[in-house]
C-alpha cells in the first residue's frame, strides 16, 4: 500500500506497515522512584519479550492515520442516516462536554460514597426521569446495551416466576422481532415460539390465544413494532398474558415514537428496556458503547440487579443487600458516561420538548412515506409511527433488489436505510429519519430515492454496480468469510 491514486483521499497503510523501530508517539514522566527490575520482581518465567508485531509510529503519523481513516466513514454529522429501528439522531456535542467534566470522568467506581454523592444523584435523577417516560415503577441502569437489557429483563421474569413456583419454558416472539430477542431468550434458558404477524403487520391476538398457556413465561414485543406500526391490541395482549400468569416484555428500541405520547406502563407492559444510544441521543461511535436501562413494574422490583441506589438520612448509598435480586449483570454500575450523556439530552429537551421531538420524528417518517408512495411498494397500509417500511417488489420486477438500491443511495450521498429487515417483508426497505432532520434533507432524500426508482427502469446496471462514487467500490463479503483474515500479518497483504 502507499500507492498514490486519483482520489482526494489517498490509500492509507496500516499502522503495522508504517512502523519503524525506534519511532515513538509518547513520552512518560520522569521516574521519581527507584526502578524495580522486572526479572527480580517477577522472575524470568513471567516476563515477556517485546510484543511481537506491535507498531512503532510517531504522534503526527497517528493523528494523520486516524484522521484520514475518519474521512472514509459516513456519519450523522455528514447527513441523514435513515437506518430503521436504529434511531440515528443528532448527537449533541454538549453531552460529550459534560461527560468529560473532572470529577465525573475520573471518578473511581469504588471511591467512598461520601465522595460520590453527585454521581449517585445523576443516576437517581435519570432513573426517575426514565420511570416517568416509561410509566414504570423502578429502573436499573446497569445493562450495557439493548441486548444486555433484554437479558436482564428475561432474567427478572424468570426469577419472578421461580418465586411463584415455576420458571416456565417458553417465550413467545413475533416473527417481526429483532434477532436479539430470540438470541436473548435462548441465553436466558427459554425455548422460543414464533408468532406469525397478521395481514396488518400486527400480533394476531386470536392466533396468540391458542399459544398462551401455563408453559409460557413471557411475550417479547417491540412497540411500535419493526414494521413501524403501533400494536393496537397491546392491552388485550397484556391481559391475555396476565390471565395465564405470563409477563409482557417490551423491546424499547422504537421508544422514539412514544416518548411523551404513550407510556408502556399504562398499556400493560411489565418490563422493558430502553436504548439510550437510540432514543436518548448518545453517540453510536461506530457500534457502541450504548446503555440498556431496564424499567419494571412494582412486582419485579425486588429482583432488580444489585446494587440499587438507596436514599438514607446520610445521603445516597449503594444497597447490595437484596436477597431476591438476580445478582449483577455487569461490574460496577453500568456505562456511566453514557448515562450522563442521556441525562444531558433529557435536561435539554425537558418534558414538553421530549414530546415535541417525538412529534417531529413521526412527522418526518410519514412525510418520507408520502414522498415514496407510488415509487416503492408499501406492504402494510396501517399508519406509520417513527419509521416506514417499503418493499422492493416494484424494482424486483426489473431484477433489482433492496440491497442494490441501498448501495445506489450511497452515490447520492446518503447512508442506506436498513436492508432486508424485518424478515416478514420480502425485500424490505426500513426507513427511520428521526426528528433531527430538516425538511430540506428529507426532500433531498426522497428525490434521491425517486431518482433511483427511475434508474431501475431506465438503466438497471447503473444501480446494480453501485456505489460508483466511493473510494472503496463494492466490497466482497463472501470472500472475507471464506477464509477469514481477521488480524494483520506480513504475508497476508493484498
Amino acid at each position: 500500500m502507499g500507492r498514490i491514486r486519483q482520489h482526494q483521499t489517498q490509500d492509507e497503510a496500516l499502522l503495522f506497515e508504517r512502523s519503524s523501530p525506534g519511532k515513538i508517539g509518547y513520552q512518560l514522566p520522569r521516574m521519581d522512584v527507584p526502578e524495580t527490575d522486572p526479572l527480580e520482581a517477577l522472575g524470568a518465567k513471567l516476563v515477556r519479550n517485546d510484543v511481537a508485531g506491535f507498531p512503532e509510529v510517531s504522534e503526527v503519523e497517528v493523528i494523520r492515520h486516524f484522521t484520514r481513516l475518519s474521512t472514509w466513514n459516513y456519519a450523522i454529522d455528514l447527513g441523514l442516516y435513515p437506518l430503521g429501528s436504529c434511531t440515528m439522531k443528532y448527537n449533541p456535542r454538549l453531552n460529550e462536554a459534560v461527560a468529560r467534566i473532572e470529577g465525573i470522568i475520573d471518578a473511581h467506581p469504588y471511591q467512598p460514597e461520601c465522595l460520590a454523592q453527585g454521581l449517585l444523584r445523576i443516576q437517581r435523577t435519570l432513573e426517575m426521569y426514565l420511570a416517568d417516560i416509561t410509566g414504570m415503577d423502578a429502573v436499573t441502569l446497569q445493562p450495557a446495551a439493548g441486548a444486555h437489557g433484554e437479558l436482564t429483563g428475561l432474567l427478572l421474569i424468570r426469577a419472578y416466576l421461580e418465586s411463584r413456583g415455576n420458571a416456565r419454558r417458553t417465550v413467545l416472539i413475533p416473527d417481526s422481532a429483532h434477532g436479539t430477542n430470540p438470541a436473548t431468550a435462548a441465553i436466558a434458558g427459554y425455548e422460543v415460539r414464533e408468532i406469525t404477524s397478521n395481514r396488518r403487520g400486527m400480533i394476531d391476538v386470536e392466533a396468540m390465544r391458542a399459544m398462551v398457556d401455563g408453559s409460557v413465561a413471557a411475550l417479547m414485543v417491540t412497540n411500535p413494532n419493526t414494521v413501524g406500526i403501533f400494536e393496537q391490541d397491546i392491552a388485550q395482549v397484556a391481559g391475555l398474558l396476565h390471565e395465564h400468569g405470563a409477563q409482557l416484555y417490551m423491546d424499547g428500541a422504537n421508544m422514539n415514537a412514544l416518548v411523551g405520547v404513550a407510556r408502556p406502563g399504562e398499556f400493560g407492559v411489565d418490563v422493558m428496556h430502553l436504548n439510550l444510544h437510540k432514543t436518548f441521543s448518545t453517540p453510536h461511535g461506530g457500534g457502541g458503547p450504548g446503555a440498556g436501562p431496564v424499567a419494571v413494574r412494582r412486582h419485579l422490583e425486588p429482583f432488580l440487579p444489585v446494587p440499587r441506589i438507596q436514599s438514607t438520612s446520610e445521603g445516597l448509598r449503594f444497597d447490595s443487600n437484596r436477597p431476591s435480586s438476580i445478582g449483577r449483570v455487569r461490574a460496577f454500575y453500568g456505562n456511566f458516561g453514557v448515562l450522563v450523556r442521556a441525562l444531558a439530552y433529557i435536561l435539554a429537551h425537558g418534558g414538553d420538548g421530549l414530546r415535541n421531538a417525538t412529534v417531529d420524528a413521526v412527522l418526518n417518517a410519514n412525510y418520507v412515506r408520502k414522498g415514496l408512495e407510488g415509487h416503492f411498494d408499501l406492504p402494510y397500509d396501517a399508519p406509520s409511527m417513527h419509521e416506514c417500511i417499503f418493499s422492493d417488489a416494484l424494482q424486483a420486477k426489473h431484477g433489482v433488489k433492496t440491497g442494490e438500491i441501498a448501495k445506489r443511495l450511497i452515490d447520492y450521498g446518503f447512508h442506506p436505510y436498513t436492508v432486508s429487515f424485518p424478515l416478514i417483508v420480502r425485500g424490505a426497505l426500513m426507513i427511520e429519519p428521526t426528528e433531527t432532520e430538516s425538511k430540506r434533507e428529507l426532500d433531498e432524500f426522497v428525490e434521491a430515492m425517486q431518482a433511483i426508482a427511475s434508474e431501475v427502469k431506465a438503466d438497471r446496471d447503473l444501480v446494480r454496480k453501485a456505489p460508483v462514487t466511493t473510494r472503496t467500490s463494492r466490497v466482497d463479503e463472501t470472500r472475507a468469510a471464506r477464509r477469514p483474515t481477521v488480524i494483520w500479518n506480513d504475508d497476508g497483504r493484498n
Binding site: L94, A183, I187, A235, G286, G337
Partner: protein
C-alpha cells in the same frame, strides 16, 4: 428547540402535504385509552449553560483533587490528548455499526487494527471487535468453552475479580449450569493448584483464572493450562489490568483470553463505559461471540475490510446465535487503538515498568510505615497490604483528610481478608502522594 431543525412554517407545510389538520392526527393509530394520561413531570428544557452548571455542581459533590490508590478493575492511567482528538471526530463518534462497508472503511480499518493488536498482546491468533467490558466477557468465554467442549462445569478462581464472578453467577445460574470455585493459596495469593487438580473432573469445560489476579498477584498460567488440558478442559485467562501485558508473558497457553482494556486511555468514569476483549485460537473462531472484521477486496481488487462470519450472530442466526450481543464498545475500542498506536512497542513496556516500580516503591513505603504484605506472590501494580498499627478503616479515614483515597478494604468481598487493603499505584502516582498515604499507616504522632 435547538436540536429540532424545522421552522413552524415548515411543520405546517409538511402536515398539509400529509393532509392532516393537527399534529395530534399523527398519533391516530394509538387507541385513545392507551395514550399518556398526564404529561411528563420532567422540568422545562434548559440551556447549554444551565446543563453544564448542573453537571459541574454534581462533580463538585464528588471527589475532585484527590490522589487515588484504588485499582480493583478500574485504573488511573494518563490519557494522551491525541486520543480524545480522534475519538471526538464526528466521523467516528456519530457513525453506526459498519454494516455498509463501502462507506465505513474508517471504522472497519481501525477495528482490524484493534483485533490485531489485541491478538499480539494476548498471544492469541484472533480477537473480536469488543465486548461490553471485562466482566461480561467472562461468561461469554465460559459459554464458548461449553459449546466447544460440550461439557458444562466451570472451575472459577476465587481470585477472579469478585464482581466478574458475580456476573458469571448471574449468567450461569439462570442457565442451571454448574460452576465451582478454586481456592487461592493463603500464603502466596496465587491459584491453589492442588485444589484445582482435585476439582478437575470429566465434566469440566473450562478453568477460569485472572492474571494479575484480583489481589494483583501474577499467576503461573502455564501450570494451570497443563492441568486443564490434561483433563480435556479449556483454559480461560482473564485480565482486568491491560497495562500488565506490556511486561508479563502473554497467556499463549490459554484457549480463550477475556479481558478489560479500560487502562488503555479510558478514564475510570465511575465504572463505564469500558471495553471488553475476547481473543482465542484460530480453530475456535466460529464459536466466538460478537462482531469480527475481516480483510477482503473491493470490486477493483483493492484491499478492503468488512464485518465477517455474521452467521454466528443474532441478526442472522437468531435463537441459535453464539451470543445475543449486538451493540459493543466500538468507540472505546477506538480510543484503545489510538492509545496502543501512540504507546507502541516501547511505550507499553516502559509504562508497565513504571507501574511495577511505583507499586513496589509504595509497597516498601507502606511496610516502612506500618504494614505488611498479605501475600508473598509476585505482584504487578497492585498488592494487598495489612496495616499493623491502625485498622484499615482508620488508615483510609486519615488519608481522606489529606486528600488521598486509599486502597480498597477487602473485607467487602473476602471476610477472611478483614483488615487488609488492596492498594494500586500507576505511572500517575507521584512519590509525594505515595509518601502522604504511607504517613497514614504510622502510629499516632506523639503530641
Amino acid at each position: 428547540m435547538r436540536y429540532l431543525p424545522k421552522s413552524p412554517a415548515e411543520r405546517a407545510e409538511m402536515l398539509a402535504t400529509l393532509g392532516l389538520d393537527s399534529i395530534e392526527d399523527l398519533f391516530a393509530s394509538i387507541p385513545e385509552p392507551l395514550r399518556q394520561g398526564s404529561s411528563l413531570a420532567i422540568p422545562a428544557g434548559q440551556s447549554e449553560y444551565e446543563i453544564r452548571e448542573y453537571f459541574e455542581a454534581r462533580a463538585r459533590e464528588s471527589g475532585r483533587g484527590y490522589a487515588c490508590f484504588l485499582g480493583a478493575g478500574a485504573y488511573n492511567h494518563y490519557r494522551p490528548v491525541v486520543v480524545d482528538s480522534i475519538a471526538t471526530r464526528g466521523e467516528f463518534l456519530t457513525a453506526y455499526t459498519p454494516y455498509q462497508a463501502e462507506i465505513s472503511q474508517g471504522v472497519l480499518t481501525t477495528i482490524f487494527e484493534f483485533q490485531t493488536m489485541v491478538a499480539q498482546l494476548t498471544g492469541m491468533d484472533v480477537a473480536n471487535a469488543s465486548m461490553y467490558d471485562g466482566s461480561t466477557a467472562v461468561p461469554e468465554a465460559g459459554m464458548m468453552a461449553v459449546r466447544i467442549t460440550r461439557r458444562e462445569r466451570l472451575l472459577v478462581s476465587r481470585a477472579l475479580h469478585p464482581e466478574y464472578r458475580q456476573v458469571l453467577d448471574t449468567y450461569y445460574q439462570r442457565q442451571e449450569l454448574p460452576a465451582d470455585t478454586v481456592a487461592f493459596d493463603p500464603e502466596t495469593g496465587q491459584l491453589d493448584l492442588a485444589d484445582l487438580e482435585a476439582k478437575l473432573a470429566p465434566d469440566v469445560a473450562a478453568v477460569i483464572l485472572q492474571t494479575p489476579n484480583f489481589f494483583g498477584i501474577v499467576e503461573d498460567v502455564r501450570e494451570a493450562a497443563e492441568l486443564a488440558h490434561r483433563n480435556g478442559a479449556l483454559l480461560v485467562v482473564v485480565f482486568s489490568e491491560a497495562a500488565s501485558l506490556g511486561l508479563l508473558a502473554p497467556p499463549s497457553e490459554a484457549d480463550i483470553v477475556a479481558g478489560e482494556l479500560q487502562s488503555f486511555a479510558h478514564p475510570p468514569s465511575f465504572g463505564g463505559p469500558y471495553v471488553g476483549i475476547l481473543a482465542t485460537k484460530q480453530r475456535y473462531i466460529r464459536q466466538m461471540p460478537g462482531r469480527l472484521v475481516g480483510q477482503t477486496l473491493d470490486s477493483h481488487g483493492r484491499r478492503a475490510f468488512c464485518l465477517t462470519l455474521a452467521t454466528r450472530e443474532q441478526h442472522i442466526r437468531r435463537a441459535k446465535a453464539t451470543s445475543n450481543i449486538c451493540t459493543n464498545q466500538a468507540l472505546v475500542a477506538l480510543m484503545a487503538t489510538v492509545y496502543m498506536a501512540l504507546m507502541g512497542k516501547r511505550g507499553l513496556r516502559e509504562l508497565a515498568e513504571q507501574n511495577l516500580s511505583k507499586a513496589h516503591f509504595l509497597a516498601s513505603a507502606l511496610q516502612a510505615s506500618g504494614a505488611e504484605l498479605r501475600f508473598s506472590g509476585p505482584f504487578f501494580n497492585e498488592f494487598v497490604a495489612r496495616p499493623t498499627r491502625r485498622s484499615a478503616n482508620e488508615v483510609n479515614e486519615l488519608a481522606l483528610r489529606s486528600n488521598v483515597i486509599g486502597g480498597l478494604e477487602l473485607v467487602r468481598f473476602f471476610p477472611e481478608l478483614e483488615g487488609t487493603l488492596l492498594v494500586c499505584a500507576t505511572e500517575t502516582s507521584t512519590r509525594e502522594a505515595m509518601e502522604r498515604y504511607a504517613t497514614c499507616f504510622r502510629r499516632k504522632p506523639d503530641g
